[in-house]
Every structure is written in C-alpha cells, then in structure tokens.
Symmetry: C2
Subunit: 402 residues, 2 copies
Amino acid sequence: MSLVVQKFGGTSVGDADRIRAVADHVARTKRGGRDVVVVVSAMGKTTDDLIRLSKDVSDTQPPREMDMLLTSGERISMALLCMALSDLGVPALSFTGSQAGIITDTDHTKAKILEIKPDRLVEAIAAGIVPVVAGFQGVSTSRDITTLGRGGSDTTAVALAATLGADVCEIYTDVSGVFTADPRVVPSAHKIPQISFEEMLELAASGGRVLALRSVEFARNFHVPLHVRSSFTWEPGTWVKEEDSTMEQPVVSAISHDTSEAKVTVRHVPDQPGVAARIFTAVAAAGVNVDMIVQNTSVEGYTDISFTVPRTDLSHSLEAASRIADEVGAKQVLADDKIGRVSLVGAGMKSHPGVTAKMFGTLAKEGINIEMISTSAIRISCVVRQEMVEPAVVALHTAFEL
Amino acid sequence: MSLVVQKFGGTSVGDADRIRAVADHVARTKRGGRDVVVVVSAMGKTTDDLIRLSKDVSDTQPPREMDMLLTSGERISMALLCMALSDLGVPALSFTGSQAGIITDTDHTKAKILEIKPDRLVEAIAAGIVPVVAGFQGVSTSRDITTLGRGGSDTTAVALAATLGADVCEIYTDVSGVFTADPRVVPSAHKIPQISFEEMLELAASGGRVLALRSVEFARNFHVPLHVRSSFTWEPGTWVKEEDSTMEQPVVSAISHDTSEAKVTVRHVPDQPGVAARIFTAVAAAGVNVDMIVQNTSVEGYTDISFTVPRTDLSHSLEAASRIADEVGAKQVLADDKIGRVSLVGAGMKSHPGVTAKMFGTLAKEGINIEMISTSAIRISCVVRQEMVEPAVVALHTAFEL
C-alpha cells in the first residue's frame, strides 16, 4: 500500500476546529486507501507562550530544560488530533519523538537526527493505525529529550518519510504553495506547480519562508518528494522534487527577498593569507551564521571585506570582527542594519548567461543601487537599501514575466 | 547524607513568582546539607484547561491520548523549576515519569505503579544534582505514557521516598497542615502537629482534602513519614507517621465532612444470599466506587439496601442498581443527591466506647437527623441532610473540645 507522511504546522492545528478539520483530511486520505503517518507541530502560539514563560521565570534557561519545556507543546496537539481521529472511527496513536525512535545527538535546542528506529511506527501502520508523531523533538544518545531547532517539524516529517519509504511528504501550511514572489509584495505572483530541490534550497536560503532549509536538504539527500500545500483550502500546492530533465525549465522560477539581515564591513584589511579566516573564525565562535561574504580586489595591499548576518546577531558579530580588526591592523568596522536582499532563483539560469545583466539593468532602470552581489549556478542575490527591496521585487517580477 | 523528597502541588508552582519561591526553598534545603528530590504537579489550572480543550476537540477522548495530553503539564512546571534552580546556582535536572523509571500497569488515566527503577535519579543525587521529577505520570509495561489518577503526584512523591529511602516526604500545599476540622466551617479549628497513618487514612477517606487516600496508604505500607506543610508560609505543618505508643492519644483527633456524594436506596429487596453481591457487582462494573453501604435487618423476608457514591456517578449507579432490582424483584430504587457526611476520626476512640453515644447525642441536641451510620475502629460517620453538615461539624468540634 502506498504511504504518505502528512505534516501539519502550528496554524494548521491552531484551535479545536482546525484540529477537527485536519482529522477529517487524514481520515479521507486513509479511507482513500493509503497508509498515513502524521507529524504535528505545537498549536499556534504555544511555543512562543512557553518561551515567554521561561523568560519570566529564569535568566539562565539551561538548554536541556528549554527542550523539556518546549516539547510539551507537540504532546498537546498530537493527543488532541488522535482524539479527533478516534471520533471519526480512525484508529490513531500518538508517539513522542522518543517513542517514534528519533535518536539525536546531545546538542540541546538544535539537535541533529543521528538515526531513526521506527519499530513502533511500522508496527502501528501494519495494524491499520495512523501514527501521529510529535514534530521537532527526539531523544538524545544520553536519553535526554532534545529539540531539532527552527523548522524542526519539517525535518521530522522528511526524515520519517525517508526512513519509512513514503511516496511523498506533504507539508501542510497556511499558504497554498511556493510562489513566484511574496504575494504581499507582488499581488500578481502565482503559485509554482513544481520546483526542483536545488531551486527550493536557494529560495529557502534567500528568504523564502515556506520551507526550512534543512528539511529541503534532507529531502534532496534522501530523494523524498515534497508537496507543499494549504490546510485551509486543501487544494494541490507545489511539488518539490528531482529536476525533471524532460521538461523545459523556465529561466527564472521565483524571486525571493529577505529584510532580516544586517551588513558588516571591515575596511582597509591587509591583504594577507589567513586574515579572512581569522575574521570568520571569530564570528563563527560567537555563534553567528554568516550568510553572504564579499571581498573586493585589493588596492595597494589592502582590501574591504563585507558580510551579512541575521540582524539579531549584529552586536555579537561587530564585537568579534572589531577584535580581529584591531589585531590585524584593519582601519575600521562599519555596521549597516538598513539593508535588504533580493534574489532571482531558477534552474534555467545555468544555460542563460543574460539573466544577470537583465537583473542589474532592471534595478538600474528603477534607480536602485546594488551594494553587494553574490551568485550561485541557479541564483543571483543583490543587497540593496531596505526600502528599495519591495520596488525591486515588483520590477523584477514584471521584467522576467513571472 | 540525609535525603528529603519535596512535593509541590499545582498552587505551589502556580506562576513565575511561585516557581522562584519554591526554587529558593529547595536551594535552602540543599545548602542546609541535605539531598533533595523534588516532585512537581502541573501549574495551577493547567490540567483543567487541557481537559476543557480535549472536550472542545473530541467526544471520545481515548484514555491513552488523555494521558499523553495531561502529562504535558508537569513537563512545563518541572522544566521551569530547573531553570529557576539554575539561576540560583543549584544544579538540577528534570525527569519525566519514564526517565525517573516509574513503571506502571497499562490502566490509562488511573495506572498503578508496578516498580521504580531509579538509576538516573540515584546517579544525579550522587553527582550533587537535584532531580526534579514529574508527578502523576509513569510509563507502562507496553512503553506508553500513563497517569496515576487523582492525587497521583502525592503517590509519585511517596513512592520515590520509599524507593530512595528518604527520611521524610514533605508534601507542600496551600494549607498549613491537617486541621481538626475545615477552618472555613469551624473558624476555631487548629492545626494538628502529629497524626497517625491510620487516622490520616480515615480522614482522607471521609472527605479530608489535604492528602489523597492512596498516597497515605502507600506511605503507611512503606513506613515513609509524611510532613504536610504550606509552600506559602513554609512553617512546620502536620507530621503523619506511625502511631506513637508513648504518647497519650486524644480521643478524637479531627472532624471531616464530605458533600460530594449521593445516596442510592434499593427498597424491599428479597433477603436472600447473593442479592447484595449482584447489586454491587453491577455497580462496580459501571466503574463506580461505592463508599458507605448500609443494610437494615430484614422484616418479613425483605430488606432495604442503601449506599453512597460520588454524585457524578449517580446516574450510572442508578442504572446498574435498577437493572438488578428488576431482576431480583425489588420494589423500588431511590436516589438522593442532597446528603452529606460528617465523620469523627481518632485513634483514641478504640478504647473510649462513649464516643458514639456522645456524637449522636450532640447531633440530636442540634435537631440533626441521622440517616445512615457507618463505623470503623477509629472513625464514626453519619449521613445527614446536606444543609445540616456545617452545623453538625461546628457542634461536634465544640462538644469534643478540639
């Protein structure tokens, strides 16, 4: 029998009505003759509420205890969903991360899955039962409860789909799929019926909010087709899968943007081997995830190095960069938190060298200055002033006829 | 080193301030040179809120899923308490029922503890860590999460104290101990410094709300001294322990009352062997816990059988009793939900036969009619009209000079 993993995010199980609607859909899928494994997130704002409560109680918030605290959220939603399925006559059993055999390392609040031992799930499926698994959580090799960090429930769903050999992993959310641009910025943006893993990775990395980067990597590595769709309309959404070589690729598939980052520039850095390594080692040691890095050609033995970081990490990044700047004799460290990024993503770009020129030309025509550029085989990103991000997205969406 | 188990109920950990106050107290105990194991309930009304939510979602509420749902409550309170202890520099680790090795049978929502495998707790204590254990929950022999039912957190605390060989199990609550009567009814009621397990059992069984019956039974069986005290004033409370033969026992220790029951009377029952057994087998099969049973001497081959049950179980009880009444040819089944019960409890009663007469005389003087009587070696209970319960308690408290 074919098997589908269905993952429901926080808004999809936000209240009693929503939980019953999800149960209806799972029951329909099961009655349609397919085996179903469900993965759920915590209800609506539960996780945010628990984080707030922990801040009221404590200044230290030890990571092991944060994990114990936050994993209570999925227990609530999965137990309620099983009850709603039972009302519909569909046998269902809830499983914590630990009961589902999701074994992780001991890196609390951002644990990595090491192994899945799905015996209990396999047993339940064979008995005609729908297993409802807590997303976002696992149990560590030292038998402590862990969480998988941002986007963790998507990761749980994809990992289970890979382990159980599911035909597809359906990711239900509050939007109806992946769009050619953010519909709040470009009202004419439309849903993309199908997109390759590589394009989805670039979109997720460049500000697309629909899927977490990590779950897309996982799906690509384990060849699990994803179907991103709405739990409000239940209509078909966007398939994310292996690139289909028989189909002609559109040159540009989508435009993403991100206004959550800030830029750090280290000016007048001596152009010597090892200097960049020292700067980024220090920044990484401060726990900061650097995104774009640009270094210009050196002039008279000196160069400028710019990089972007999440705006919430700006002060840590500045501190680390300034320390190294002093040590290596750089002139100045500048911060800029008024930037934004616009990216074109498309598998067809690989064979269409004119895309970059067209992108820069479009931005120039709109009077938008480009401050940093970074490219991959299927993506071009430009850093611009933050207030120019939306006009840039609109202009590019029209120019590339999306 | 001496070991104390400290159990904190829902009001004791009701909000962020209360959790920090509890952490202070645990830290003081630990710094005073004693090892501490903490057991916590869910915060305040969390459990009630979750039950309400489950009713919004589902009509069937499968017991296994109710257990999964409700056990999220203690995870929240124990993780927060560990964070607050960490703020105070006291190393603490939270443990779910499963992690604490509390193995139960598979009777969901009212599981019994079969065994405790406290390896992780022992390890933590040896390392100078305060284990904070989720009350009320365990893991079944089929690896499912279970709850221990009403008063389950007290049971967890006493069971851990017995297993770990603790010197005392301290039960912190929102009252300062066990009183000679309910202070809301008798303002002059006072705290009892020490009471025997047997008396406490009778008090718990006859309406005293401070300790759950089951945890007192457990403490008596395993010789674990209890200390019931307030987490608001932290003053010494009531010790519950083996009867101390060197001390003179007061004749009457306390007066308890209960207005949560209803009475069922099966009238004109043929006085034949096996009839009572059939009635109470049917009532038990309906899942109802019968409390008092009174059968009068038969007149002309017929008798009346009355019994009390929790008022919430009245309709199930009536249904079961009526079915058997028809089968055995009894005349009538009557229900009365306007009753209440008043009980005198005291170890000294055993050797003071005049207590019963004095109790009945006191009630008669107040014009209070006695509808049912039930006695044990150290308790006398009378069923009276519900509105006469409070006057009865007040009159008896005065008559027995408590």
